[in-house]
């Protein structure tokens, strides 16, 4: 499978360096290695979800408990989480570190992913969610740390878009 193991490892290691100890996830192709790494790591609580919106509540519970968490999802999972983000995370000022695989952009071969790609960034902007991109392995660690720092200081959801150039090896 051409999902990059090296990039997945860099992301996982960066999350651990940021003291992330709970990850919620719903599998998608680009996330398979990350989810397996979380599952294999006894220091990480992995919560496999039925639907991504559950992750908002789980991360809120972890935040109340003082545990740092991250949410792993596809951009369609972000779409499925919007009410939870607005009516829980925004309403109650809950920091969320959302790692979103950005499907449906340049190079996408799966027709079913393409509509989600069209609306992801405009929705993030409309919702006032700060976001940046993970597109190079050498900036992964710094950017994850910066995203978490902003989420924790501003008490709001922050998104990192996982890009094809980072996650996929053609």
């Amino acid at each position: 499978m051409p999902v990059s193991s090296a990039s997945s490892k860099a992301i996982f290691d960066a999350l651990k360096k940021c003291d992330v100890r709970l990850m919620s996830a719903l599998p998608e192709t680009w996330l398979v290695h990350l989810i397996r790494m979380a599952d294999d790591d006894p220091e990480m609580i992995l919560v496999r979800l039925a639907k991504e919106e559950e992750g908002v509540g789980i991360s809120a519970g972890a935040h109340f408990a003082g545990v740092k968490s991250a949410m792993l999802m596809q951009n369609h999972g972000f779409l499925a989480s919007i009410n939870g983000i607005v009516s829980f995370a925004h309403l109650y000022k809950i920091p969320l570190l959302m790692l979103i695989s950005y499907r449906g952009t340049f190079g996408e071969r799966d027709p079913w992913q393409t509509q989600g790609g069209n609306v992801t960034e405009s929705l993030l902007r409309t919702m006032g969610i700060p976001y940046s991109f993970l597109d190079r392995v050498d900036t992964v660690e710094k950017r994850i740390r910066q995203a978490q720092t902003l989420a924790e200081s501003s008490l709001q959801p922050v998104a990192l878009l996982l890009m094809r150039d980072l996650m996929w090896e053609e």
Binding site: V47, L49, A50, G57, G61, A65, S87, F88
Partner: protein
């Protein structure tokens, strides 16, 4: 059976738990009995009270967590039952007040009024202990057993579709949220 009578019956038991409620009547009625810093009222995001309880339970395995849920809320997030069951934290108790109605928005009937069985759904989702109660005495006993036991439990409490005249309380949402987190951090330092 009235939800308020149920809440009054278990109010002393809730003192040493972390409690997450859904919005509307449940939140207002629990507050009417007396707010405590270990109560968090999720005043929107229907369906996510159970997820919040799961996040708390997995993060704080030594702490008892009680979710006060409702039929309308859990029906919006039935997948949450399967996620709870997947990890089955022994320190989590979910109460579902089932009034077969979306009371806060005009009393429209939910699917539990036309046969959906939340106890059955919970059990079939893999929740190790699920039961339905119809009297305050049975409810109180069920919650006590669940708190004393070491098993993820869903208690479906069949209640009448009545509630307070209003739902807005004096406690602001953010004040509640910050107080709740601060309370948990103070417990951890003890």
């Amino acid at each position: 059976m009235l939800r308020l009578d149920c809440l009054r019956a278990i109010y002393p038991e809730l003192e040493n738990c972390l409690v997450v409620t859904i919005m509307g009547a449940t939140a207002a009625e629990l507050q009417s009995l007396g707010h405590r810093p270990n109560f968090f009222y999720l005043q929107h995001a229907m369906g996510l009270a159970s997820s919040t309880g799961l996040g708390l339970a997995l993060s704080l395995p030594e702490q008892k967590i009680v979710v006060l849920d409702g039929d309308g809320s859990i029906l919006m997030n039935l997948g949450s039952l399967s996620t709870m069951a997947r990890y089955r934290p022994a320190n989590l108790v979910q109460v579902v007040f089932d009034n077969e109605s979306l009371l806060s928005v005009g009393g429209f009937p939910t699917a539990t009024g036309t046969g959906a069985d939340l106890e059955g759904i919970a059990r079939a989702s893999g929740i190790p202990k699920a039961l339905t109660v119809r009297t305050v005495e049975d409810f109180k006993a069920a919650l006590r057993d669940a708190l004393a036991g070491n098993q993820l439990t869903t208690i479906v409490a069949k209640v009448e579709a009545t509630g307070p005249s209003g739902y807005v309380t004096e406690l602001s949402l953010l004040e509640n949220r910050f107080q709740f987190r601060r309370h948990i951090q103070s417990l951890k330092r003890r």
